[in-house]
Symmetry: D3
Subunit: 63 residues, 6 copies
């Protein structure tokens, strides 16, 4: 059942997303001792200007 | 007050989204015995490559 | 695939939650023309003091 | 640590988003008496047709 | 319309939460030039053991 | 920056959660080629009655 949501900087390739989905699913299945088919993941691609750390948008922290 | 968030495969028409918003609002209002004006919905359109079930992206499960 | 998240005032009975899950799933399946088994729902029970509309906690709007 | 997620109508400028990130971070830091560097914000830009209040999409409430 | 979700360490008093709701609503209304009644906030109280930074639970970073 | 949110059945021990946070952070850092300190995770513990698959609460699917 775990529902996993990952918000991350946009621009990753389909291959990177596939790897991410695989690895995170395996990590959860192993840590929670459940089968991989129970894990559902959604990735949200977010532009840098939409992310803030310490009150500063990522476009200014790491342009 | 219910806040409803639905992440789904992108590509639905405005008409489909309107129907979705209507039906889900009615379902919640009825089940929780509240008025429809209390229900707030946000839809998130997600590409297939961003969705994983069992460690596999939806692009490979259902291309 | 739709992932549905509903944040609502805590205190609903298991029967009400079951009805909510059923109705919302049916509404989504019908509106999006998908089968019910694709719909995943998570409910989050939230105390009134954690909900704000217009800057006012629900405990003061509707005690 | 607070993780803040704001879903809002798309179309805001980078300057508006920067101001939003600043102000919300300051508000949280002050209200919770923590330092600003602990606050993480993600903004989600959503088209009007994806937002529903009272069962009606925002495109029809406020075209 | 903005929907705001704040996940934070559990244990804040109702007074602190009220202040948080007020300040964040004001900050958003001002930054986005909208009226406060459009802002909806939900707070999620989370135990320290459920929060991880850099792979380490907050219980170990800041016991 | 990735913000990771995992909604799962309540009842895991602090040790299991710690392992989960570690493994998921490592998986993301490796897949996205970023350092672990950029990864922020929040776990949400949810009772079985709050989770629905195919319109049926988890309490009835897997009591």
């Amino acid at each position: 059942m775990p529902i996993v949501q990952i918000s991350m900087i946009q621009g990753r390739t389909p291959e990177m997303k596939e790897k991410l989905i695989q690895r995170v699913t395996d990590a959860i299945a192993e840590a929670l001792q459940i089968t991989a088919d129970k894990v559902h993941i959604v990735l949200y691609d977010v532009p840098k200007e939409n992310i803030g750390h310490g009150g500063i948008p990522l476009t200014k922290i790491n342009p």
